[in-house]
């Protein structure tokens, strides 16, 4: 039996809330292309599946509390409900139950994700950096280590906003900033790291697909923040070597003088 009540409005929350996500995840129109960008990294699926785990978990709580709220509001709407109110001040048992269950769940999520975090930010592959990426207003300057695999030597190769990396290999990049904060964000590799002036940091990943994609600056760096765009190109090793050699040849014949070599110790 339909009874007009404000409670119906609150039923719309779980319905629409779930619908938005169902459309986006299944890429149904009009939300086609409105979910995660293609993941081309070896570690990205861990982050995505962690997101999905939390989405299922929170989704269940969202729907559960939403429905409970609707049912209570609907059943006890004073415009037709004349039953005496339940004169209760709480329940010790319930408080304990709804403290312990969420606490255990949250602790589980916390522990469950630690290894993913360690892999992303702590356990750097033991190899020299392929290149050094320097953020500055408003571009990414890239300096390849060259054949000697040491950054800061004669054979370094310089590019701007153009990062090529070899396919199916662990890649380590040294990242730093010349001026203000920037953030090195590779949406397709589920990678983000703020770059801080005065600090030298490393990021690492392993691309599994050949593809060209965006490098985004994700930390406000001034008026031109929006245009600080670079491109990442994942290519097979052979092609990468060829590209690097070509860049080096171009550099030899141009009048470009590399900046003074800094005394950075390479770890």
């Amino acid at each position: 039996m339909f009874r007009p009540s404000w409670s119906w409005l609150f039923l719309l929350i779980p319905i629409f809330g779930v619908a938005w996500f169902v459309f986006a995840i299944n890429e149904w129109p009009p939300l086609a292309g409105h979910w995660f960008p293609q993941d081309i990294s070896a570690h990205g699926n861990i982050i995505d599946s962690l997101f999905n785990t939390i989405l299922w978990l929170t989704g269940a709580i969202f729907v559960g509390t939403g429905i409970a709220m609707f049912l209570f509001l609907h059943k006890y709407d004073a415009s037709y409900n004349a039953d005496p109110v339940k004169y209760v001040h709480g329940s010790h048992v319930l408080e304990v139950v709804w403290s312990i269950i969420p606490a255990a769940t949250l602790l589980f999520i916390a522990i469950y994700q630690m290894s993913a975090w360690a892999n992303a930010k702590v356990l750097r592959p033991n190899q020299p950096a392929l290149a050094e990426v320097t953020g500055r207003q408003f571009e990414w300057r890239i300096r390849y280590a060259g054949e000697d695999k040491i950054i800061g030597t004669e054979d370094d190769v310089f590019t701007v906003n153009d990062l090529h990396v070899p396919l199916n290999e662990d890649v380590v990049l040294a990242i730093k900033s010349d001026d203000v904060l920037h953030s090195f964000f590779l949406p397709n590799l589920r990678l983000k790291q703020d770059v801080v002036p005065g600090m030298k940091q490393f990021v690492w990943f392993k691309p599994l697909y050949e593809r060209e994609c965006d490098i985004v600056c994700a930390e406000l760096c001034g008026w031109g923040h929006y245009k600080m765009k670079g491109r990442l190109n994942v290519v097979p090793r052979q092609e990468f070597n060829q590209w690097l050699a070509n860049k080096r040849a171009e550099q030899e014949t141009s009048s470009f003088t590399p900046p003074a070599i800094e005394e950075d110790d390479e770890s």
Binding site: M69, P84, V85, L106, Q113, W117, A118, R190
Partner: protein, 604 residues
């Protein structure tokens, strides 16, 4: 006792001199907590409008990038043909957040409602330190002036984000808005801090010292508990922000180098000094600004608890667990600031620690939600306008709380940090949560403040439109976040990854425009009802707490009798009472004649 009652029509009709002095003392430099509360309310509602306009500017650019802004575009940027420039865009989101956080949410909760409600709800005649109280309002004016001036400084206002991260903010040449505009911003925020500090000291003293006879701590309404805990948070966290603000000021003008590393060259100018660490600012800033998030939600939670219990006509479920969870949120609130810095370059081991504490803070929030649901269960729910806003607070806070778990998970945060997922999250907490609670609170306490009711049908239309359009505005931002759509980009669509999101952004913008437009109904209702609303009487909602036993509006000194408190504020539907409510001041039946324990009688 009408002699102590301030007659509101009086001041203007007195003789010139006496009338003017009286008017100034009563309405301008007033020592009365209620007038000070209303001063805060009107000032913050005015700034709410400014902040809303700034938000529409942001939304216009995201929906129609580089297209002339309608109506005011030609006025503001005639030389650019009415377009928003990228530097203007950075100013827009910086000042939108600054205005909304420092001039609206914090002062409307603590300043307006804290001031108005604390003495009334604890049964005091005023605050412990009325002069300090007045100063806490008048210290907002230098802040208003400084931030107002910032709009006219080069760069049209501070533009390094409301977080003001160095080195962008600390080096004057780093951005168009990093010069004088940033200095004014820092001074303005410092004045807000001074004001809040004066307020919080006063609230703490008042609540501890000036409760009416019988008003034990565990008979306080949850609004007061929330204000109490909030005041503690402010008193302990604010000095850190103030110190950090001065450090940044000194880096900018005296050549210290707290936040500037060695050999820094920004935009072709060398920084005056070095040896500092940009991350230090972030730690200090968030050490205040994370507790500030709870300063911006706890009082709203308290007020919602009072409204829910009143219109469910039923005691609040789990009063003490509610108090403990407010305290737990505040306590944990001090050790979670690092979750804003997971990808900042902070030691990743530290990230793990902050992740665990952040996960744990979801727990007391969950307990509160369950207790609100428990309050609704088995009640007799009256869908008045304040109740609708309070219920929507609960369901919106659930969304904002649950989305927080995603970003607390450090590996997930790597992807969603600084995307629209975060924007969705904090707007669900602060707009869909706090602002909706504030609307509810205005509708609820308006009869006490002005002696008249606000119009109910208009209130419901206002609620319905706001509720629909706020969800249309903020919910799709979660989806944008999943795409990786970053915050603070003036033109994101030249990225291959984000170009398909333009239509969704236009949808969001139109919802935002309609949401702001719906507020016209509220403004009309607010001012119309001051003069033409239905007279309210003392207790129009049949509520229990002390303020409803005072006249509406209460005169100077608040109560026309000495309130004595016999019980907690949530005794709705008590079998001891012959009505379905049981005011805190009503003597128990053994003091009266033959009160039976029959079921609750009908309302009023």
């Amino acid at each position: 006792m009408s002699s102590v009652t301030v007659d509101h029509a009086h001041g203007a009709t007195h003789g010139q001199n006496a009338g003017w002095g009286h008017f100034v003392r009563t309405y301008v430099f007033s020592l009365d907590h209620k007038i000070i509360g209303l001063q805060f309310l009107f000032s913050t509602l005015l700034w709410f409008f400014v902040g809303g306009m700034l938000a529409l500017g942001i939304r216009w650019q995201l929906a129609y990038p580089w297209q002339p802004m309608p109506i005011i575009g030609r006025l503001l940027f005639a030389e650019q043909g009415g377009q928003i420039s990228p530097e203007f865009y950075t100013m827009l989101f910086t000042m939108h957040a600054t205005v909304m956080i420092f001039f609206v949410i914090i002062p409307i909760l603590a300043g307006a409602f804290g001031n108005y409600l604390i003495p009334l709800m604890i049964g005091a005649d005023d605050m412990a330190f009325p002069t300090l109280n007045m100063l806490s309002y008048w210290f907002m004016w230098p802040a208003f002036l400084l931030i107002g001036l910032s709009f006219f400084a080069p760069g049209n206002g501070a533009s390094s984000g409301w977080t003001s991260y160095p080195t962008l903010s600390a080096v004057k040449e780093a951005a168009p808005g990093s010069g004088m505009a940033q200095t004014l911003w820092l001074l303005g925020v410092t004045c807000v801090g001074v004001s809040s500090m004066m307020g919080s000291v006063n609230y703490l003293t008042t609540i501890i010292q000036m409760r009416a006879p019988g008003m034990t701590m565990f008979r306080l309404p949850l609004t007061i508990w929330a204000m109490f805990i909030t005041a503690i948070l402010q008193a302990f966290a604010l000095p850190v922000l103030t110190a950090a603000g001065f450090m940044q000021l000194m880096d900018r003008s005296l050549g210290t180098g707290f936040f500037l590393p060695e050999g820094l060259i920004v935009n072709n100018s060398a920084a005056a000094s070095g040896g500092g660490q940009p991350l230090l600012w972030q730690h200090l800033f968030w050490f205040y600004s994370h507790p500030a998030v709870y300063i911006m939600i706890l009082p709203a939670m308290g007020m919602v608890s009072d409204i829910l219990s009143c219109f469910a006509r039923k005691p609040i479920f789990g009063y003490k667990p509610m108090v403990y969870s407010i305290s737990a949120i505040a306590g944990l609130g001090f050790i979670v600031w690092g979750h804003h810095m997971f990808v900042s370059g902070m030691n990743p081991y530290l990230g793990m620690t902050f992740m665990v504490s952040t996960m744990m803070i979801a727990l007391p929030s969950a307990v509160k939600v369950f207790n609100w649901l428990g309050t609704l269960w088995g009640g007799r729910i009256q869908f008045t306008t304040p109740m609708l806003f309070a219920c929507s607070f609960v369901s919106m806070f659930v969304i904002g709380g649950l989305s927080g778990i995603f970003m607390a998970a450090t590996p997930v945060d790597i992807f969603i940090h600084d995307t629209y997922f975060i924007v969705a999250h904090f707007h669900y907490v602060l707009f869909a949560g706090t602002a909706m609670a504030v609307f509810g609170a205005i509708y609820f306490w308006y009869p006490k403040m002005f002696g008249r009711m606000m119009n109910e049908p208009l209130g419901k239309v206002h609620f319905l439109l706001t509720f629909i359009f706020l969800n249309g505005t903020f919910y799709p931002m979660h989806i944008l976040g999943a795409v990786g759509f970053p915050r603070r980009l003036a033109h994101p669509y030249h990225y291959e990854t984000f170009q398909q999101t333009l239509p969704l952004n236009q949808f969001i913008t139109w919802c935002a425009i309609l949401m702001v437009a719906s507020q016209v109904i509220f403004v009309f209702n607010f001012f119309f009802s001051i003069f033409f609303g239905k007279p309210a009487g003392r207790n129009p909602w049949g509520a229990n707490s002390l303020e409803w036993q005072a006249p509406s509006p209460p005169g100077h000194g608040n109560f026309d009798f000495q309130p004595i408190v016999y019980r907690g504020p949530y005794e709705y539907g008590s079998p001891e009472s012959d009505t379905d409510y049981y005011p805190q001041t009503q003597p128990p039946p053994d003091a009266k004649e033959g009160q039976g324990g029959s079921g609750p009688a009908s309302h009023h």
